[in-house]
Amino acid sequence: MIRRVRAAAAGLAAIAATFAMAGAASAVECPVKLGAVLPVSGPMGQVGERIAQTGQFAVELFNEAGGVKGCPVEYVLRDTQGQPTVGVDAAKSLVELEGVPALVGAISSGVSLPILTSVAVPSKVVQISCCSSSETFTQLAKEGKTDGLWFRTYATNRSQSAMAALLATKAGFKKTAVIYVNTDFGVGLANRFKEDVVKLGGGLGEVVAYNESQQSYRAEVTKALQGNPDSLFLIAFPVDGATITREWLALGGTDNLIVNNSLRSDDYFDAVGRQYLKNLIGYDSAQPRLPSVATFNELFEKRFDSPPNGPGLHSVFDAVTVTLLAMEQADELTGPAIRDAIRAVTKEGGTEVHPGPDGIRRAKELIAAGKPIRYVGATGALSFDENGDVQAPKMVWKLIDGKNTEVEYYSTEDIARLIAKLDN
């Protein structure tokens, strides 16, 4: 039986090899295609549509500067409908029918991951996501199962837990309770925080998960109050976060609150009441103070008549632009070559190049001259670590006289140092 299976497998492999050879001619054909798999309908449709448009915009700017290897770039967008099966099929059809060597997407980790394991890695195609935050990708990369083909331009949870732990210990809190939203985002962040806060010399109270969209969180809050914590790290989204905060304060919890970036929202402040949030402190991703970011913001406003406010817009722009630069840099348009070129065009020490047609033209001249470049884009200088993850600068904010005010700024380098300290 086994012999027969082997024989059949060998036969199939031979057929595959014949087919593969037929398709081996590798001169650059115009147009150069870049695939995008994003949810432009379904529950994530509204967010996805803006992200998809911004990706298209990045391609347009690149084409204004002459495209990739002298060819215009065609941006082939396919809808995932927010469903893993549909997303996987769309990705496979982009790879096989359109022949794209790189995919941008998806948004939800639950869709990006099956695409990575069943399409991108087996077919040796680069996959770069603007928005998937799950730690599972880092784990997969560490196990060597991504072949380095996975990248993301969205800073992972890693820096978030480190920031929260830093805030807790800098304020001198000795026992921090945690209430977190039960999603891949919340679970990953809470688990990391448990380790980080202890490493920085803080202490941990109860750690309690909550499920979204409940009427009341009295049970969760009561549990978190056990052992009299002197502070609370709340990982939540505005509506549920406000319910939890009100119940926490009403049941006698401390007002030493640390909150994650999603609660930096007027909806949350008003629902709780700003007068109760005087000791609230939070962190958020900061836009780096760099000319490249301003350039992107200007270009975006000119094109869309509105500022680039919204999740994933800066990061998808960089995901697309860095992939196209890598295509320009790569000897051939194959997944592994583009993967290596992404490392090359983001390497420290290269000449900095910025977004926009002028920046791209300059980058292409430098590449043509064989000089190293470093893309510094809408999210700042991208430096992918060995797992394909990036870090972003962070800021700390408080409500001062009821106004949401930035009080501290941590650059990408500061964050990298903090994480290095925690991981060793």
């Binding site: 492999a13 949810p39 396919r78 469903q83 099929d89 784990q139």
Partner: protein, 315 residues
Amino acid sequence: MIGLVAYLVFFLIVALIFAVAVLGLNLQWGFTGLFNAGVAGFLAIGAYTMAILTGPSREAVLGGYELPFAVGLLGAMLASGFAALVIGLITLRLRDEFLAVATFGIAVTIQLVCVNWEYVTGGTLGLISIPNPSRALADGPFAQNLIYLALVAVLAGLVFVGLERIVGAPWGRVLKAVREDETAAASLGKNPVRVRLEAFVLGCMLMGLSGALYVGFIGYVSPFDFLPIVTFQIWTMLIVGGSANNRGAILGALIVWAVWTGSGFVISKLVPPSVQAQSGAMQAVLIGLILVVTLLFRPRGLIGEKIAVSRHARD
């Protein structure tokens, strides 16, 4: 050309995996008249069982038994069969729409358990690195997918032949009798509750098999895979293909999945790039339109039920 073939192989794998679940639903709805609105839940049970039995060991999560693929498939069928037995004993006294509401609730419950029971399911992070047996047998995605397609096709074929035999057997006639008139069936000495339970469990085992095959192929499972829309897709496949006809069930899976995914391809070809980001809505409209037109012209599905008349009646 190679690309088209490679894509078709991939497409057929997913479509045939769906077909196995549609065949299970056909046994329940088509032949027995059980309105199971919880298909996604039974897919999930099969999928997670497969992941736990065959996946690599990991910290803080149950499983990692690294058992062979075939054991995973069997385990998945047994687990979903057992779940169906328990759920069936509780709910099968309910008829029609009541059963639909109960099973829908159960599927949502199962999905929420998957989200929250981290020790078993990995919670929202899901379970990664589930081995795909074809990876060890050949190099390159095309050959591997061909092998997996062969495997899925053989299993789907076995399921089809098996179902054809049992619905053609006396047991199958009892199913239809229960579907058409339970009281009449009972008056002939048949036990409708027992027959309904048998059909329900067997159908759910096939859904479990389908879930397991999906996980074995994709290599990853998360609660995100089992949203209620999946139940809707499986139902659409059965209704379009033709319920109470196993050929119809398979045809429905192929056609509906082709429409569902092909519409995206067509739109990316026809729509100018500048408005592609708005094309999601068009795709939804296109899918809906094709389904409605099919049902208008073929209300009993593409291949409906064969009219079965006893061969003795001809004389």
